[in-house]
């Protein structure tokens, strides 16, 4: 492929086309992240002539107060649970979409799955409140059907947060799994079956390993934003919805302790990067 167009050598000829994009990323992503790193070691905002010095106290605050550690663990657990539910719900759907449905039906359902992306995430979260609260749709419907009285008030509870988040993120899992499942050669599955493998064995030994990149990609796309979520827990969780993300939000918009917020953000970033790097070797192995 080494044609004369794809010149080898210096970055020179590529620069005019590359510079604008990477300059933009530098100003809006990489410099801010560096600034935040610096900021997390400061005693006070370095603005309007205030005195500041370098300190480790914000990181010390994280480790000395059990609260932050507990909340971080709660957020990681939330991320793992939501990711797991998305896989359990999304993978079979992706399988049916990729291997059972054909032609127009497949195209239509594929579109229907990704269409909610084009609606407002906040509003979708809020509409769950109308469904889940006492006297809401779920409550009313169940009581209309059931002969006995039940009280369903899931609003402001952990399950409500899970439902809202799974609803927001399950399309990612369907999409990424669909892409890998669609690429699996039918002959491989037929070969496994004709060699006497049961359906379950075929699924476990042939389909799942081949679909693993999609499952992992989906998991990363879901886990990362969920660990840092604060809007969904606030709206659907109420007082039970205090997570690591909501604490960071508070530091920036309510308490105005930006340096502590920066330190907490950085610890979250470190945790996310560690988890991503754990996933990376699996991704490479299955390839």
């Amino acid at each position: 492929m080494a044609s004369s167009i794809r010149g080898r050598g210096g970055i020179g000829p590529a620069l005019p086309l590359l510079t604008p994009a990477y300059l933009w990323l530098a100003v809006a992503i990489f410099l801010p992240l560096s600034a935040m790193a610096l900021f997390s070691f400061m005693t006070d905002l370095p603005m309007s002539g205030r005195d500041w010095s370098l300190t480790l106290e914000h990181y010390a605050a994280f480790f000395s107060s059990g609260l932050y550690v507990t909340l971080l663990w709660a957020s990681v657990r939330l991320g793992l649970e939501v990711t797991l539910w998305c896989a359990v719900i999304g993978f079979p759907a992706a399988y049916v979409l990729a291997r059972v449905l054909k032609g127009r039906a497949r195209e239509a359902i594929f579109l229907l799955v990704i269409l909610p992306f084009w609606s407002n995430g906040l509003v979708r979260i809020f509409s769950w409140a109308m469904v889940l609260r006492e006297g809401g749709l779920l409550d009313t419907t169940l009581n209309a059907i059931l002969p006995f009285r039940v009280n369903i008030d899931l609003m402001y509870s952990y399950p409500a947060v899970i439902i809202g988040l799974v609803h927001s993120y399950v399309p990612y899992m369907v999409l990424t799994c669909y892409l890998t499942l669609q690429a699996i050669d039918n002959a491989l599955i037929e070969a496994a079956r004709s060699l006497g493998a049961s359906r379950l064995q075929t699924l476990r030994r042939v389909v799942l390993p081949l679909a693993m990149p999609g499952l992992l990609a989906g998991s990363v796309l879901i886990f990362v934003p969920v660990v840092g979520s604060f809007m969904e827990p606030r709206i659907l969780g109420g007082r039970t919805g205090t997570f690591y993300g909501t604490v960071i939000e508070d530091q920036f918009v309510a308490v105005f302790n930006w340096p502590l917020g920066a330190a907490l953000s950085f610890i979250l970033l470190a945790v996310v990067l560690v988890i991503l790097s754990l996933a990376a070797p699996i991704l490479r192995r299955v390839r």
Binding site: L18, F30, L31, V100, L122
Partner: protein, 262 residues
């Protein structure tokens, strides 16, 4: 044979259940925008009053207009910069190219909460400040990697020999790009642009940290309303937006067929 049929039927049921789950809250929301009760009480009483209220709610309309403008500018800027960068990464081999490609992932793989707060700190520190210009700066950075990934994927299907042929026939670099390469990768460019628009229009977290009371986007305004006192006007504006965006999506999908088998 029988079990195969049974499993396939079960699979279809599963898909229907998934779609019901996905569309339940959207339908409820649309329905409630026509319900008279401001507290979402049943029984249902038909009204279009919330739409009338919406047309008089200047704050909400201004926020909607802000969101549309930001999304359009983000789409244009991110698509142009992203397509240019994809072309450069496709045409040239150079040291450090893998690093540049790897640098596209942090904006996707870092929680928005962290990117948003980092932008707030930095923009505040260097005097860029907060407001619509800061939001635009942030949105383009979030959308760029998606555009580059999508356009690059499309470029994989492009034969570089075509560029070479055009060049040997005397086309200038500009002509090669606009007459040969761009037409071929256009579906990818459009898909990338749609991504950029969706990322921007629905983006809440980064906008939230970068907005000021007078300059908010629609999601930020909705979040404030949910926490202060939510009225069905929000359902009305959301229903209109979902209607328009789904219509646009369907039209685009019809013409460009992404998702289907090419």
């Amino acid at each position: 044979m029988f079990t195969t049929r049974l499993l396939e039927a079960l699979g279809r049921v599963w898909i229907v259940l998934l779609l019901s789950f996905l569309y339940l809250p959207i339908c409820i929301m649309a329905l409630m925008s026509f319900n008279a009760s401001p507290f979402y009480q049943l029984p249902f009483e038909w009204t279009t009053g919330w739409y009338a209220d919406l047309s008089r709610n200047e704050q909400l309309l201004a926020a909607t207009w802000n969101s549309i403008q930001i999304a359009v500018f983000t789409t244009v800027i991110a698509t142009v910069l992203g397509t240019a960068a994809s072309l450069a990464l496709f045409r040239h081999e150079f040291r450090g190219k893998r690093l540049l490609q790897a640098l596209l992932f942090p904006p996707i793989a870092i929680p928005w909460l962290i990117t948003g707060t980092a932008m707030l700190i930095f923009f505040f520190g260097v005097g860029i400040g907060r407001g619509l210009h800061a939001i635009l700066l942030g949105h383009v950075a979030l959308a760029l990697p998606y555009v580059i990934v999508v356009v690059s994927a499309r470029l994989q299907t492009f034969a570089p020999e075509l560029e070479e042929a055009a060049r040997s026939l005397g086309a200038s670099q500009w002509q090669v790009t606009t007459r040969v390469t761009l037409p071929w990768i256009m579906p990818g460019v459009i898909a990338g642009g749609l991504f950029a628009f969706a990322v921007s229009f629905d983006q809440f977290v980064v906008s939230y940290f970068l907005s000021t009371p007078g300059e908010a986007t629609l999601p930020v305004e909705i979040y404030a309303a949910i926490r202060k006192g939510f009225t069905p006007e929000i359902n009305a504006v959301s229903t209109i937006i979902i209607g328009i965006s789904m219509g646009l999506m369907l039209v685009t999908a019809r013409f460009f067929k992404f998702g289907g088998e090419k």
